[in-house]
């Protein structure tokens, strides 16, 4: 069964919101933390509500609204979101005040907005959408789980269209903590040369990308979502190769039939070895683009990759600003996204032209 990506909405560290032209210019970020380029939210959210909302809620709601507007869908049949970290800002506010004020005189707002279903619930509330509403919070599988749920809803006939999104934010607190785990580069770095340095660590990213997935085609669809799979903690590279090979054979294709591979290389010399090895084996000679120099590393970054792939398929070619390796065909009709998060969560997403 073919599923169609009818519309997208994306707030990211690049100028992606409002479809200004696919990566017409690439935003450079210095340092190991990428910030989203945020729009003026007033066009999408009531001013009074904007003041109450944390950044991730605003980003999520606006990306969702843009996606629905583009799709021409007022109320989707279902809303499924994926977020690993949830609403970190509000969680941090409530937690800090609770500790500092020794559990006394606390206000409820930050707590109310701290739950992982806040964004999905806010979207439902704004749209008066009584339909299916689910939230996946599983680290590097959060978006993939949400996407699988959406795909199943369409296949089951439970929904004709599903709004599905992946979103995560970085906060000062989360960045301070994650930095102590040694996740990020310590030397000066620009996202533009992220992959040129053979050092440890990556750069922190964030974003909110939504998709309107439908079971029936229209004239304006971006792409067809063919298949998705995930695998958890492969024991070694051979097992990773087996998973990839069986995914491709399950779709009755061989690697030479993939027009473009989008990988999750993040600049960490250890984690990137996986991609380099696969390019010697299952991905040999497949033209490749790496997306994390654009959006940074975060657990739901594959939502950014799906946005990128959808837009490349729609235009048929790579934007000139985007570096690639290998020989890209004149018209790009089939893209495979392969990402791994900390070599624990691996995912494959296959999309094609309509």
């Amino acid at each position: 069964m073919k599923l169609y990506i009818r519309a997208t909405g994306n707030i990211s560290p690049q100028k992606t919101f409002g479809h200004p032209g696919l990566l017409a210019e690439i935003v450079e970020h210095s340092g190991n933390r990428l910030y989203c380029v945020e729009p003026d939210y007033k066009a999408f959210i009531d001013v009074k509500q904007i003041r109450r909302m944390s950044r991730i809620i605003k980003m999520g709601v606006a990306a969702a609204m843009e996606c629905l507007q583009e799709a021409g869908v007022e109320v989707p049949d279902a809303i499924v979101t994926g977020t690993a970290y949830g609403c970190l800002e509000d969680t941090g506010i409530f937690l800090s005040k609770m500790v500092e004020q020794q559990e006394e005189l606390l206000a409820p707002t930050a707590f109310i907005q701290s739950t992982h279903n806040t964004v999905g619930a806010q979207i439902a509330l704004m749209l008066h959408c009584n339909g299916y509403n689910n939230v996946f919070v599983h680290r590097g599988f959060s978006f993939e789980s949400a996407l699988l749920d959406a795909m199943l809803l369409l296949k089951e006939g439970e929904a004709a269209n599903v709004l599905v999104g992946g979103l995560d934010e970085t906060t000062d607190t989360s960045h301070a903590i994650l930095s102590r785990f040694g996740l990020y580069k310590k030397e000066p770095v620009s996202n533009l040369n992220l992959l040129a340095q053979s050092t440890k660590g990556t750069i922190a990213g964030e974003g909110a990308a939504f998709f309107l997935l439908a079971s029936q085609p229209t004239a304006n669809d971006f792409a067809v979502l063919e298949a998705l799979t995930t695998f958890y903690k492969p024991a070694n590279i051979q097992e990773t190769e087996q998973h990839i090979a069986s995914f491709l054979s399950g779709q009755s294709i061989v690697s030479s039939e993939i027009d473009l591979l989008i990988t999750g290389r993040n600049g960490d010399m250890e984690e990137d070895k996986v991609y380099s090895k696969l390019e010697q084996s299952v991905f040999d000679k497949v033209p490749t683009v790496n997306y994390k120099p654009l959006c940074g590393e975060y657990p739901t970054s594959s939502a950014f990759a799906l946005w990128l792939a959808s837009n490349i398929i729609q235009s048929g070619s790579l934007p000139p600003s985007l570096e690639h390796t290998g020989n890209v065909p004149g018209k790009i009709k089939r893209i495979l996204i392969y990402n791994h998060f900390q070599n624990t969560h691996h995912s494959l997403l296959l999309i094609s032209a309509c």
Binding site: I79, A84, Y85, G86, F94, L95, S96, M98, V99, E100, Q102, E103, E104, L106, A107, P108, F111, I112, Q113, S114, T115, H116, N117, T118, G120, A121, Q122, A124, L125, L127, H128, C129, N130, G131, Y132, N133, N134, V135, F136, V137, H138, R139, F141, S142, S145, D149, L152, K155, E156, G157, A176, I177, R180, F181, T230, Y232, K233, T344
Partner: protein, 399 residues
């Protein structure tokens, strides 16, 4: 898509028992689990009763054979999920595609709170081992790794309906032939974060809660974990014992009314219950027992009651809120109450709704106040409604 999904195993830990049989025994003997805090350290320890699991972190760690103490949320999950798998006793589990679908609301927050004490004044301080498992998904992975489940692992967090949704999603993965066996449910340990959060909303009762009572004053927070093992028809055929029942109905709907409050007419609750009945192909009169969401807050009980009145009136099934025993275990409640629902089917019993003295004026029905034994229980509806308007209902049916 409509292949049956069987319940082949279950496991539970809560304030009323450290395993299935202890929980059942407490339910039959009307022994509630609320009391003064013994393990959670809070300034509210004298004023707010909670329903704690009666095991320290040391005891849980030792029981599990772990070399160190990890988040209580993960340890509770491991205890109940392990019991569920053992209870299912599936021979050669490794021959089947097995998934672990868990749920929780605040991940490893119990440890993050400790980390923040040192971290807040100085960002270089605080032990990283206290915050490493903060994410909800990490809690599930600790349990999945402990159980040796690797084919599919994910986590759902939709506030109080989280683990009803994990059961629901797990069943669909079986029906879509993605998995053969799914361990699904949820876990949550008591944390200061949630206790204070609910306290700011002024919906915590300072006495043991009274769900569906006219004079109810709020909920008590609890902790625990509950999991069911669901299997496909193919797996059920090779089990040594017959499955307990099947999951016949499920539905997820959103109230779309308010971030924390339910709509007065319980739109989301109504849609979830109605959808689950439709899915199961059952009429309302086929339901023998409703395990109510029944938190004991003013808002939930009237919204849920109004939705039940609209859907079931004028003839009502037996019903009760087991939160009057376990407190509200948040992300664990859907899983825990799924287990209690299956136990009600297996034992042909209906649990009492404790401390219900004055029935709600607005409602034409009264939940059961005494244990009913030797009743015919063929279909049980379990409700889980939550913040963000996330409402889910499950129906378990005898085979």
């Amino acid at each position: 898509m409509n292949a049956p999904v069987f319940i082949a195993g279950m496991g539970a830990i809560s304030a009323i028992g450290n395993n299935l049989s202890e929980c059942l025994n407490a339910l039959e003997n009307q022994q509630a689990g609320m009391g003064e805090m013994a393990y959670l350290h809070s300034v509210h320890s004298k004023t707010l009763p909670v329903a704690e699991v009666k095991l320290s972190n040391d005891a849980l760690s030792e029981q599990l054979g772990l070399s160190k103490i990890i988040s209580r949320t993960a340890m509770l999950s491991m205890v109940a999920a392990k019991e569920a798998l053992e209870n299912a006793a599936i021979a050669a589990l490794s021959n089947f595609r097995t998934g672990f679908i868990s749920a929780n609301t605040v991940g490893g927050m119990d440890r993050t709170e400790q980390f923040f004490n040192a971290f807040l004044p100085d960002h270089k301080k605080g032990k990283l081992r206290d915050v490493v498992h903060h994410e909800c998904g990490y809690i599930s992975e600790l349990a999945a790794d402990y159980l040796g489940i690797r084919d599919y692992v994910t986590t759902i967090s939709t506030a109080c309906s989280s683990s009803a949704n994990s059961v629901f999603y797990g069943a669909r993965l079986i029906r879509n032939n993605i998995l053969d066996v799914v361990v699904a449910g949820g876990t949550d340990a008591l944390t200061k974060f949630t206790l204070n959060g609910f306290n700011t909303l002024m919906i915590l009762d300072q006495d043991p809660c009274k769900p569906f009572d006219e004079n109810r004053k709020g909920l008590n927070l609890g902790e625990g974990a509950g999991y069911v093992v669901m299997v496909s028809e193919k797996v059920a055929a090779v089990l040594k014992k017959a499955p307990f029942c099947k999951l016949s109905g499920y539905c997820n709907a959103n109230d779309a009314y308010h971030q924390t409050a339910s709509s007065p007419d319980g739109t989301g609750s109504y849609l979830a219950m109605k959808g689950a009945l439709d899915r199961a192909g059952l009429l309302p009169e086929a339901i023998d027992y409703i395990n109510l969401h029944g938190t004991g807050t003013q808002n939930n009980d009237i919204a849920e009651g109004t939705a039940i009145k609209r859907l079931f009136g004028p003839v009502y099934p037996k019903m009760s809120s087991t939160k009057s025993f376990t407190g509200h275990t948040l992300g664990a409640s859907g899983g825990l109450e799924a287990v209690f629902s299956v136990l009600a089917l297996r034992e042909n019993i209906i649990y009492p709704n404790l401390r219900l003295q004055t029935p709600m004026k607005e409602l034409p029905f009264v939940p059961e106040t005494l244990l009913l034994k030797d009743v015919s229980v063929k279909n049980v509806l379990s409700n889980s409604f939550g913040f963000g308007g996330n409402c889910s209902s499950l129906i378990f049916s005898k085979i």
